[in-house]
Every structure is written in structure tokens, then in C-alpha cells.
């Protein structure tokens, strides 16, 4: 068995499987790798758009009483920034990475439903573009990315921005559910022989669990959007109080989606970290079982905590306490993971490639973000700090310092596999440090601004003590952060032109995607290595030290 080479010679002429590189072949592709890359390109495009939106906002907020822009412009910017970053950057990045990697990681040829895969992508792109055409029809949506009623209703938002937002998100939601179903079915039915569920790479496992979250959470959003559209278009009464409608019902529906959504945005990132840290520490993940089980715990609990976004609504202490306890509880499996990742590094032989640098920084940044989240589970503290810049700091620490840093780690880890070329470690180091400095400079001071009393979603603010200084620091940080992305894009261009050929397994990693060429051929694997444990290539190269013999 150990004589099987990882890259066997092709058995026959494979010219008919040659991939074409034309635009049309990309647009009509049903290949999971191409669709994955299309998702990632979409995410990069909207990342730049959403980032510019943020920069403009930070310019307006750099000094007190600023008049760089009008309030209605600012309101559109923050609404679009939130909506874009969540639905058009993070979701497609994670879906794209999942679609690219999951079939490879399980030794499959493609996903279960390749055409559905394409449909999911095009629906997402269409939804995003539709959302942005709102600019040409009056105004972009400006009621905030969670669109509270009755502000989002016709009397207060008479322009069609809200409708574009709702319809765009509707399309994105349907596409996302289709992709979630695809991933679940792929993992359940197309695993290579020997790959039991408990031998899944953790990225695949977390994507699997995540897909259940998608399937169960997105419909709640679509229901809420349907009711909002019917309110606005047909003068129904769901969320307007004049005929007994309840603005709070909107919040319940929205956050029933919205809370699982934040875990949808973070579980695959946990998956990335669970791949990167072990490989570059040269240690298997510490406590595979706990990490896998805690993922399920998070998924289940995520449906029971939504009203922690509503502690200031006045639901009553019993409701508040129920959701607070649930929120405290969900912090436990999340915290476990952080320790498991740290202890993976223990007794390792750590190589600090850029991917590992970002993964290590993730551990610190996500801990800060997670702790600030726990603070909000302390109801009286939420009563002071919700809707202030402490929330803005929290969300950016978990979504940028968390998910985005994990995505950067994943980029540096899997870029060689996807393109066949290595990224520059030198440029990567520049990218890393400017990102860390820019990110923390932008967002750490926002914790302080919240304690200083600054509420969120304000287009301008008075000259209260420290507010001007802290905001200026935050704006400066934002520009450094913007500049840091230049290193990333430059690195990508450099890699295309001068990057060293990667070979199939430049990192000496262990999961199946590294058992084929870089980039993989259209058919993924000429021959799938035997799978006897969670690290098939480790087992192959260390026959006396296979995981199943050592992992009692």
C-alpha cells in the first residue's frame, strides 16, 4: 500500500479533459473549482467596493462636526458597507473556498450538483448587482443593514432603496441555500472510500455543519423580507404599529436569521484555522473530537440566542435572562476551540509562513472579539454598550480580525494549490504587519469611543472629550488598513508573474487536496490515496506512525 505514488502517471490520453480558459468557458462553467474562483473574485471585487465605502465613512468621522458629506450619503454608505461586507464579501469568500476545497478534500470529482452550484453563484452575483443598481434609481438603501421597521417602511423610507435591498437579498438567500444543500449532499454522498465522517478534514466538517445553519437560517430572512416587501408594496400591516403590527416582530424574524448568520460567517473561518495551524505547527489538531463536537454545539445553540440583539427592547427580564444564559453557553464551545488551536502549537515545530502569521494573529484578535461578545451577554452591560462603538469594535474584531484574518491565512495557504504558484513571503510579511497595525489602530480605539458614549450610525458627532482624537486615530488606522490590501493584490500579481512553481504539496500538508497537482486537473484526482485517518498523506508518508496507531 505504501508503494502507491501520490501522483500516478495518467492511465490514458487525457487530452479530452483539457480545460479551456476562455471567458465563455468560465461563465458557463459547472466545475466546482472554477465556480469557487468566481465566488472568490466576486468577493474581492465587493471587498474593494465595501472598503471604499468604509474609507469614505472614516473620512467623514475623522473630525467632529464634519461636513465632508451629507447625512443621507453617510446613511447609504453604512447600510451598503454592512450589507456588502456580509453578503457579498464574507459569504461568497467562504462559499467559494468551500466549493473549491470540499470535493478535493473528500476525494471527489465535483460537488453533487454542479449545475446547482453554478446557479447558486449566479444568483448571488445577480443579487449583489441588483442591490447596487439601486444607486441609479433614487438612492441606495439607507436604513441600516438590518433594516429595522418602521424606519424601513414606506412612510419613513419612501424611496425604493429598501426594495432593492430586500429583493437583492432574497436572490442571494436562495442562492446561498442552494449552495448549502449542495455541500451537505456532496459530503454525505461523495466521500472517497475509507473517508468516514469522523475522518473528514476539519474545514470540510465545519463547512458541513455550517451548511445546516444556512439551510435553516436563510429561510427566516426570506420570510421577513417577503413580509417587508408585502408591507411596502401592498400596504400590508406586518411591521407598522398603526394597525397593530409589531416592529419587534421584524426584529425577532431578522435576528432569528441574523444570529445564525454570524456563525455562518465564522464557522468556515474556524475550519481554515483548523487546517492551517496544524500543518504549520507540524502537529495534528489538538482534540479533534472536541473541536468537531463544539462545532455542532455552536450550531445548535446559535438558534437559541437571537434575542441577545434585543436586550434594549424591553422584552422583560425573564426573556433577557434566558437569552443571556444561552449566549454565555455558546461562548463555551467557542472558547474551547481557541485553546485547542493554541495547544495544537504545543510541542510543534512551527514554521511562520504568512499563512501561519495570520492564523496566529487570528487567535489573538478573535479572542478580543469573542470576549467583547461575552461582555454583551452581560445584560446590564449591554444596556449601556449596545448600539455604541463597542458593538462596532466587537463586530469588526470577530469579522475582520476573525474571519478576514482566517481568509487571509487561507489565501496564503491555498493560493499555491489553486494557481500552481507560490506567493511571496516577503510581500506577505509586509501585508501581514500593515494589516495588523492598521486593523488594531482602526478598531481598538472604537472600544474606547463606545465607553465614551459615542453611539453608532452617526454621520457626525459633537466635540466631546477624546471623541475627536480617538476618531482621528481610527481614521488613520483605516487608511493603513486600506494600504495593506495593496500588498496582498501586488503579491497576487507578482505570484502570477514570478511565483515559484508550487508542486502538489509545497507545505507538506496532509489532506487530500494536496494529493493532486497544483492546480488540480479538471477531474481532480487520477487516483485517490487510501484514507485510513483524518490525515491521509501523513499516514502515507509515515506508515509506522499512522494516526490510527498513535491516536488511542
Amino acid at each position: 500500500m505504501s508503494e502507491i505514488s501520490v501522483l500516478p502517471l495518467p492511465m490514458r490520453e487525457l487530452a479530452e479533459f483539457e480545460e479551456k480558459g476562455t471567458i465563455l468557458s468560465w461563465l458557463s462553467s459547472c466545475d466546482h473549482k472554477q465556480i469557487g474562483i468566481l465566488y472568490l473574485l466576486t468577493a474581492v471585487f465587493f471587498f474593494i467596493v465595501g472598503g471604499c465605502e468604509a474609507l469614505f465613512m472614516r473620512i467623514q468621522l475623522a473630525v467632529p462636526n464634519n461636513h465632508f458629506m451629507k447625512p443621507e450619503t453617510y446613511d447609504q454608505l453604512f447600510t451598503m458597507h454592512g450589507t456588502t461586507m456580509i453578503f457579498l464579501v464574507i459569504v461568497p469568500s467562504l462559499l467559494g473556498l468551500s466549493m473549491y476545497l470540499v470535493p478535493l478534500m473528500i476525494g471527489a470529482r465535483d460537488v453533487a450538483f454542479p449545475r446547482l452550484n453554478a446557479l447558486g453563484f449566479w444568483l448571488l452575483l445577480f443579487g449583489g448587482l441588483f442591490l447596487y443598481t439601486s444607486i441609479f434609481f433614487g438612492n441606495a438603501p439607507d436604513m441600516g443593514w438590518f433594516s429595522y421597521a418602521p424606519l424601513s417602511e414606506k412612510p419613513y423610507s419612501s424611496l425604493p432603496g429598501v426594495d432593492f435591498w430586500a429583493l437583492g437579498l432574497f436572490a442571494i438567500g436562495i442562492g446561498t441555500v442552494a449552495s448549502g444543500i449542495n455541500i451537505i449532499v456532496t459530503i454525505l454522498t461523495l466521500r472517497a472510500p475509507g473517508m468516514k465522517m469522523k475522518r473528514l478534514p476539519l474545514f470540510a466538517w465545519m463547512t458541513f455543519v455550517n451548511s445546516f445553519l444556512i439551510v435553516f437560517a436563510l429561510p427566516a430572512l426570506n420570510a421577513a423580507l417577503a413580509m417587508l416587501l408585502i408591507d411596502r408594496g401592498l400596504h400590508a400591516r406586518f411591521f407598522t404599529p398603526d394597525a397593530g403590527g409589531s416592529p419587534i416582530m421584524w426584529q425577532h424574524f431578522f435576528w432569528s436569521f441574523g444570529h445564525p448568520e454570524v456563525y455562518i460567517m465564522v464557522l468556515p473561518a474556524f475550519g481554515i484555522i483548523s487546517e492551517v495551524v496544524p500543518v504549520f505547527s507540524r502537529q495534528p489538531i489538538f482534540g479533534y473530537g472536541f473541536v468537531a463536537a463544539s462545532t455542532v454545539a455552536i450550531a445548535l445553540l446559535s438558534f437559541a440566542v437571537w434575542a441577545h440583539h434585543m436586550f434594549a427592547v424591553g422584552l422583560g427580564h425573564s426573556m433577557d435572562i434566558f437569552f443571556a444564559l444561552g449566549s454565555m453557553l455558546i461562548a463555551v464551545p467557542t472558547g474551547i476551540k481557541v485553546f485547542n488551536w493554541v495547544f495544537t502549537m504545543w510541542h510543534g515545530a512551527i514554521r511562520y509562513t504568512t499563512a501561519m502569521k495570520f492564523a496566529t494573529a487570528f487567535l489573538i484578535e478573535f479572542t478580543i472579539g469573542g470576549l467583547s461578545g461575552v461582555i454583551f451577554a452581560v445584560v446590564p452591560m449591554d444596556w449601556q454598550l449596545t448600539d455604541t462603538y463597542v458593538i462596532v469594535a466587537h463586530i469588526h474584531y470577530v469579522l475582520f480580525g476573525g474571519t478576514m484574518f482566517a481568509l487571509f491565512a487561507g489565501t496564503y495557504y491555498w493560493w499555491p494549490k489553486m494557481t500552481g504558484r507560490m506567493l511571496s513571503e516577503r510581500l506577505g510579511t509586509w501585508h501581514f504587519w500593515t494589516t495588523v497595525i492598521g486593523f488594531n489602530a482602526t478598531f481598538f480605539v472604537q472600544h474606547m469611543l463606545g465607553f465614551a458614549g459615542m453611539t453608532r450610525r452617526v454621520w457626525s458627532y459633537p466635540d466631546l472629550p477624546q471623541w475627536g482624537l480617538l476618531n482621528m486615530i481610527s481614521t488613520a488606522g483605516a487608511f493603513v488598513l486600506a494600504g495593506s490590501t495593496v500588498f496582498l493584490f501586488w503579491n497576487m500579481l507578482w505570484s502570477k508573474a514570478h511565483g515559484k512553481a508550487a508542486g502538489s504539496n509545497p507545505w507538506e500538508a496532509w489532506t487530500l487536496e494536496w494529493a493532486t497537482s497544483s492546480p488540480p486537473p479538471l477531474y481532480n484526482f487520477a487516483q485517490v490515496p487510501p484514507v485510513k485517518g483524518p490525515r491521509p498523506l501523513w499516514d502515507l508518508h509515515h506508515p509506522e506512525q499512522q494516526d490510527r496507531y498513535l491516536n488511542k
Binding site: L151, G335, I364, P380, D387, A452, G453
Partner: protein, 310 residues
């Protein structure tokens, strides 16, 4: 610490939250230092050395994992207990018909009514020190939120629902707050000012607020009084003692006695009042006060009149 009002409590309600916050934040810091310490240590101690062979695999340590799981549960459980206690202290039960103040939130100003005293004012709230005030909230339009961090919790103001909360002030002084739920274009300038006064000063203020100012008939102010009724001002504003009784905009009976205009957007000076009358759409873009394109003479007269309304 006054730059950080969340840490500068001036009431029992705010204090119970602040003391809880210290404990929670120190705990969070401790956990952060632990994680950061472990990561830093691992970074240096386990860095790959050039000649190093592949280390022996370590798959986990179930006892350790159970230990830190239970550790988390214990810490979070303890915090929860203190949290629940502070909930009771900072947000005691309220009674239905017992509001000391009724605050109606509008886009983008605060209507302030004292049911027991018969006072109606706007944006600036006066309370006597050492007295628990039950606030009743209503919204005239969208969701707002009342937040004065030094005096108490924030509370959403939701149309169709009558939320209530408590504030009090230990010391005389001015306390700042703001609307804390995005409510549209000028959410940023829907600021709150609470003036806590000694009982004597509060009684003075009460008397002044209940008094009906005489309507001037002579001079520029007299002209202004006439313009106020003739132009569309009276269709939105109340000035007691005159025919103007509308409640669409703030009550202006004692507008000159307030410290700010336009819910904290401008300091209340004659020059600023003139600026506000001249171009409210530039001072507070999106606000519902229309720009009446007043000729200079009318503007001056109105300012003169409004300045008499102390």
C-alpha cells in the same frame, strides 16, 4: 474618568452597572492575557529549528479539555449570577400610571412632559437630585432609544409600546446622552441633556416653566410675535398664552431658557437661533423644520420675540 461616562455613574442605577463592568472587564483582561501569553510562549518555544525532525504527534488531552471547558462554564456562570443581580438593581420594576416624565421621541427631537407637574418642554430634561424618576416612553414615528449613560440604562422607544425605565442623579450638574437607535437622517443630532438641580433650583425652574410668558406687542419682538402667528410657525409649534397650539414640533413656550437648540445641534444663542431660522436644512439636513426663506427683517423680528420666551 468623566470622558468615559459609562465609568462615571451618577446614580444607583448606573453605579450597579459600572461596578459589574469593572469585574467583567478585569476577568476578560485576565482571559485575554492568558490566551495571549500562551500564544506568545508557543510562538517562541516551539518555533521550528533547522535540524528539527517532525515532532511526535500529540492528539489531545481529554482531561485538560474537560478542565478548561468546566473552567469556562464556572467563570461565565459566576458572571451570570452577578449580571442578574445588576439587572434587578439597574432596572427595577415600573408602575403603569406612575411616570414622573413622559418622553415622546420624534424624528429628531425629544418631547418632554411632566404629567404630575403639567410642564411641557423639549430636548432638555430637568430633574431634582436624589429623586428616582420613572420615565415613560412613546414614539411618534420610528424606533428611538433614550440613553444617558451616567444616569441609567438605555431603553428602546418603540412605536406602539410604552417602555419605561428609571434615572436619578446624585449630584447637580448637566449630563449628556443621545438617541441610541438609528432613526433616520439626523439620528446623530438627537442629543439629550439632563440638568439635575437641587430641590430649590428645581422648584424655581418648575415655576418658570409653568408661567405663561406675556406676548410682546411693541417693537421688534412685537413684530416677531405677530409673524409667529401669521407665518406657518404656529402650524407646528405651541407657545402657551398664544393661539399657537400645535404639537408637531417642539413646544417653544420657554425656548430661550434652554441651553441648546435643535436637540443639541447648536448652542442656544441669538446668533445661532437666527442661523437656525434662516436655514434649518443646512444646520440639520433632513430635519422636518422647513426652510421658510424668511426675509431678513422677519427673521430678526422672530429672533427678538423668541428671545423673550424665557
Amino acid at each position: 474618568m468623566d470622558s468615559y461616562p459609562v465609568f462615571a455613574p451618577h446614580s444607583e442605577y448606573a453605579r450597579s452597572i459600572a461596578s459589574l463592568s469593572y469585574g467583567v472587564l478585569w476577568t476578560a483582561l485576565g482571559i485575554f492575557l492568558l490566551v495571549a501569553g500562551l500564544v506568545t510562549y508557543a510562538t517562541y518555544k516551539f518555533k521550528a529549528r533547522p535540524e528539527e525532525k517532525t515532532p511526535k504527534p500529540v492528539y489531545g488531552n481529554t482531561k485538560l479539555e474537560i478542565a478548561y471547558t468546566l473552567g469556562f462554564v464556572l467563570i461565565l456562570g459566576t458572571i451570570s449570577v452577578f449580571s442578574i443581580r445588576a439587572m434587578e438593581a439597574s432596572d427595577p420594576p415600573t408602575a403603569r400610571e406612575a411616570d414622573n416624565l413622559l418622553i415622546v421621541a420624534h424624528q429628531w427631537w425629544w418631547e418632554v412632559r411632566y404629567p404630575g407637574l403639567g410642564i411641557v418642554t423639549a430636548n432638555e430634561i430637568h430633574i431634582p437630585i436624589h429623586q428616582d424618576e420613572q420615565l415613560g416612553f412613546r414614539s411618534a414615528d420610528v424606533i428611538h432609544d433614550f440613553w444617558v449613560p451616567e444616569l441609567g440604562r438605555k431603553m428602546d422607544i418603540i412605536p406602539g409600546i410604552e417602555n419605561k425605565s428609571w434615572i436619578a442623579a446624585d449630584n447637580a450638574g448637566t449630563y449628556f446622552g443621545a438617541c441610541a437607535e438609528y432613526c433616520g437622517q439626523e439620528h446623530a443630532w438627537m442629543r439629550i441633556r439632563v440638568v439635575a438641580q437641587t430641590p430649590g433650583a428645581f422648584a424655581e425652574w418648575e415655576k418658570e416653566q409653568l408661567a405663561v410668558p406675556a406676548t410682546p406687542t411693541e417693537g421688534e419682538a412685537g413684530e416677531g410675535a405677530k409673524y409667529f402667528q401669521e407665518l406657518s410657525c404656529a402650524s407646528c409649534h405651541t407657545i402657551r398664552g398664544t393661539a399657537a397650539e400645535a404639537r408637531i414640533g417642539p413646544d417653544l413656550t420657554h425656548v430661550a431658557s434652554r441651553e441648546t437648540l435643535a436637540a443639541g445641534r447648536l448652542d442656544n444663542t441669538p446668533a445661532n437661533l437666527a442661523k437656525w431660522l434662516l436655514e434649518p436644512d443646512l444646520v440639520k439636513p433632513g430635519c422636518h423644520m422647513p426652510n421658510l426663506h424668511l426675509p431678513r427683517q422677519q427673521q430678526d423680528a422672530l429672533v427678538a420675540y423668541l428671545e423673550t420666551l424665557r
